[in-house]
């Protein structure tokens, strides 16, 4: 029997996720067939099904990767970090993703699928809760060092920052003139003014 090489296994999974993501962004989740994903990934159906047993399983892996990447970003911050700047940098990264047409279309496809697929909805809601908790923790630190208005409630403020991120992706669906590259400084501005220590209420 062949031994499983975890690194090779992971590389294959990533290759499929990337190929599937391209297909979903181009043709929509439902219109994409596994045959198309195989063609894009350059592998046989048997090989693909060895790694993922359905299209939904691929979406779940993409959502999980995104959750893990976001969690890793916030986990890497420590006492030496400029917390407010780290949050604003995170928002810049979100806008860079939003400016990537394939990523943006994929994000909208996955959000639409979450409205139909309770398993994906539950998974996305869990990732969302974690991101809010991570941002709330960051805000608490930034309040302690005087960077952020301590009159705000950290969990509640985190909700509104995440609402703005959601709003960016809705803008992409609704407004063809919304240019994430041009708008990135505005997201920084909206969040900076909202959080600014010493703001009048």
């Amino acid at each position: 029997m062949r031994k499983i090489d975890p690194e090779r296994q992971q590389a294959k999974r990533r290759q499929i996720m990337e190929a599937a993501g391209n297909c979903f962004a181009r043709r929509g989740f439902h219109a994409t067939t596994t045959a198309e994903i195989c063609a894009e990934a350059g592998m046989s159906p048997g090989n693909l099904f060895h790694y993922f047993d359905s299209k939904s399983a691929i979406v779940e892996a993409i959502v999980e990767e995104e959750r893990a990447d976001t969690a890793a970003y916030f986990a890497a911050l420590d006492e030496s970090s400029d917390l407010l700047e780290a949050l604003l940098d995170f928002l810049d990264a979100v806008m860079a993703f939003a400016a990537d047409k394939t990523y943006a279309r994929l994000a909208l496809e996955i959000a639409a699928e979450a409205t139909r697929n309770p398993a994906i909805n539950t998974q996305m809601a869990a990732g969302d809760a974690q991101t809010r908790a991570d941002i709330a923790r960051l805000l608490r630190g930034a309040m302690a060092n005087g960077q952020v208005d301590a009159g705000l409630e950290p969990e509640q403020a985190a909700s509104w920052i995440v609402a703005l991120i959601d709003g960016v992706f809705s803008r992409l669906a609704m407004d063809p003139g919304f240019d994430p590259q041009r708008e990135a400084p505005m997201l920084r501005l909206v969040v900076s003014r909202f959080l600014k220590a010493g703001s009048a209420r």
Copy 2:
């Protein structure tokens, strides 16, 4: 031949839209049958089809009514209006709608349907563009009278206010703990701080 009474016609249409909206919110747009809408509205299928030839036509009428209501709100403002306060009142009204569970579910159903139905997407995008234009016009007035930071670009600022509104409905889909009634003052706060005249950039 029976004469058409426009008022009666309009009342019947509203009755169907309301019944259909309840059904869509309860069971989802696709799961709802026209028979269920007829039962909810207390009318026969023949009668219903006299007013709307499809479920999609009912959704289009609901979206159009919302567009018209929003446009009427902004059109009613004149030189005597406190423009910034009128904008913040509009945001309170949005949060009151978001707090209405039937309305919120219906809004999410319609947004999901817009991702699948290009006609509804086009219609929603047109309403969205009009709301942004109305808010931009209001902001221009509020800048002229010193209520809003004149360093902002009105169309761009309007986009971010609409992004926040979008974000509220995404929060309802993602976060069961998001309570629009509790959060209404926060939306006012985020927008007030963003727009405040004399803010540092």
